[in-house]
Amino acid sequence: MSAAAETRRASALRRMRRGHAPGQGRVGSIIVLMVVTVLVLVPFAWVISLSLTPESEAFGSVSLIPAHPTLENYGTAFSDADLGRALLNSGIVGVVTVVTNCLLAVLAGYAFAMLPFPGNRAVFYTLISTAAIPISVTLIPLFLMARGIPLVGGNDILGHGGSGLLDTLAGVILPYIVMPMNIFLARQFFLSAPLEMGEAARMDGAGELRIFFSVYLPLAKPLIAVVAIFSFTGVWDDFLWPLVVTSSQEVQTVQLALARFLGSGNVQYGPLMAGTVIATLPVLVVFLFNQRSFISGLSDGGVKG
């Protein structure tokens, strides 16, 4: 071994024994991180500031701290874009989606892990592979199917004549009732759940549904949290499907209400930014209380949007 390599090795060993060289390089990387973080977050600071700036001050150069902060933009956002109605609609759509996914998708994932049937793996992979289908492929067929659902919205038994689920909240919910990724997450979770508890309950004569609901579901709180968070943010954030399936203001979602500001030609940024803050708040609050679930859910299940 050459002398140079020898010294390198010796100094490496010394470094290892000492642990990390204190401070070395770390200060530099923290400064880089601080700069990047500020750059990433600066737009949000301006948004909040702009949402509090009165219209009279909004012309010309806007300072980060408004001279006369006001909530008038928030009032305008609610009255001009009917934001209250939109929040209610998005809330209903979100809650229904969370409930159906926590029940149906989690039940399916549970069965794939705990109650396997012949061919279950092929069925499982077929179902979750649908998560990779681009929205543009299913958009038009789903629109036509929503319109053609029999016996609703003035349709006859063959699905003709009316508008089906178009322009209804049920129509907005339609594509989200079971999200394949949630089945995947649930199966992953239950694969590592203990079998003994179910066996014991089975000995006591409990039915399978009862075992699911009273033995395993209470164990699955972290899973339920992740499924609920991702289902909710998924529908809350979606834009293209609500845009296509709804037309009237009564059923518009929050994201559509935001976009309505654009239709009026001359964009009023104060109310628009107030609306943006309101539309973002629910997801942001959920995030701040569940950062761990958010981040581990993303890296475990690969959920991304």
Partner: protein
């Protein structure tokens, strides 16, 4: 499905005794088939739903792509064979939209992945307050694309943040989104900012799955920073890198909300992505057959490029 790349090792080998029937007599076998039946029943609601509202639409869309169909017409779709596809070959708008989509993916993807990797390495080391950086950098990802686009719409506006900053240096204001030379770049900058956090978190998870003793070994062998990165970090990160790149391609190639909010496809079609063109073709021009054909061409391209990426990144070590 790209997710399979990051499954924990046990995903395909459930604990013994779960999939195979217990050895033994008729009684036990009958019990096994009963639980299997119940399992099937539990899967049925979700399974049927996905078949009806995910798989059937794909087939339906494929059929539509061989027809002419306006949702306003009283008659149903009219079969026209491969005409929609052959028409796309000479469709200048579609060609342009393909180029725009390609450029969009190609200029956002490398920058966002490389920046995210750099950030992931920085927040991988434990220090006080590292969690704060991880969360703060992740915030743009949790804010909806629509809301984020609204924010950037203001920043790009005549009186917005960018022109304000230019003004400090005495530079003239730019019309970022209204100029066909800069509009797509402006949208791309927004998407880079938006995608940074989620890519960083995924790559961070990848970094943390690399065994520590590999780094110790590299250090003992006297490997420098670059050599450690090249021979330890990069190979260990490969599966996650594939996943991140494939998912980015899938999502970027479907850009819509940001285009709708920021530019409406303009100016002069310079930001009309394929997805935006499909939307206008289907829901403004009511031409659902040709829009479906476009969707399937896009679908094929996305699958093709994702597979190419997987081969390109995984290739050498397999």
């Amino acid at each position: 499905m790209a997710t399979t790349v990051i499954l924990p090792a046990d995903v395909d080998s459930p604990p013994a005794g779960r999939t195979s029937p217990e050895p033994g007599g008729v009684r036990k076998r009958r019990r096994w088939s009963r639980t299997a039946l119940i399992g099937l029943l539990f899967v049925l609601p979700a399974g049927l739903y996905i078949v009806i509202f995910q798989l059937v639409p794909v087939l339906y869309g494929l059929v539509l792509s061989f027809t002419k169909y306006s949702p306003l017409s009283r008659s149903g779709p009219v079969f026209t064979g491969i005409e929609n596809y052959t028409d796309l070959l000479s469709d200048a708008d579609f060609g342009s939209a393909l180029l725009v989509t390609g450029r969009y993916v190609l200029q956002v993807l490398p920058i966002t992945v490389i920046l995210a990797l750099g950030l992931a390495i920085l927040v991988n080391r434990p220090f006080k307050g590292v969690g704060l950086f991880r969360s703060a950098l992740y915030v743009p990802h949790i804010v909806s694309l629509t809301a984020v686009s609204m924010v950037w719409l203001w920043m790009y506006s005549q009186t917005g943040l960018f022109n304000e900053v230019l003004g400090w240096f005495g530079a003239p204001a730019q019309s970022w989104l209204l100029d066909s030379d800069s509009a797509l770049n402006a949208v791309s900058a927004m998407r880079i900012w938006k995608a940074l956090g989620s890519n960083m978190v995924l790559l961070l998870a990848g970094l943390q799955s690399i065994p520590r003793d590999l780094y110790e070994a590299a250090r003992v062998d006297g490997a420098g920073r670059w050599a450690t990165f090249r021979y330890v970090t990069l190979p260990g990160l490969r599966p996650m890198l594939v996943y991140v790149i494939a998912m980015d391609i899938i999502y970027l190639a479907q850009g819509f909300a940001e285009i709708y909010v920021l530019t409406q496809g303009g100016p002069l079609g310079s930001t009309t992505t394929v997805n935006y063109l499909i939307y206008t073709e289907a829901f403004q021009y009511n031409s659902m057959g040709s829009a479906s054909a476009m969707a399937f061409v896009l679908f094929a391209l996305i699958i093709g490029f994702s597979l190419l990426t997987i081969r390109g990144v995984m290739g050498r070590n397999r």
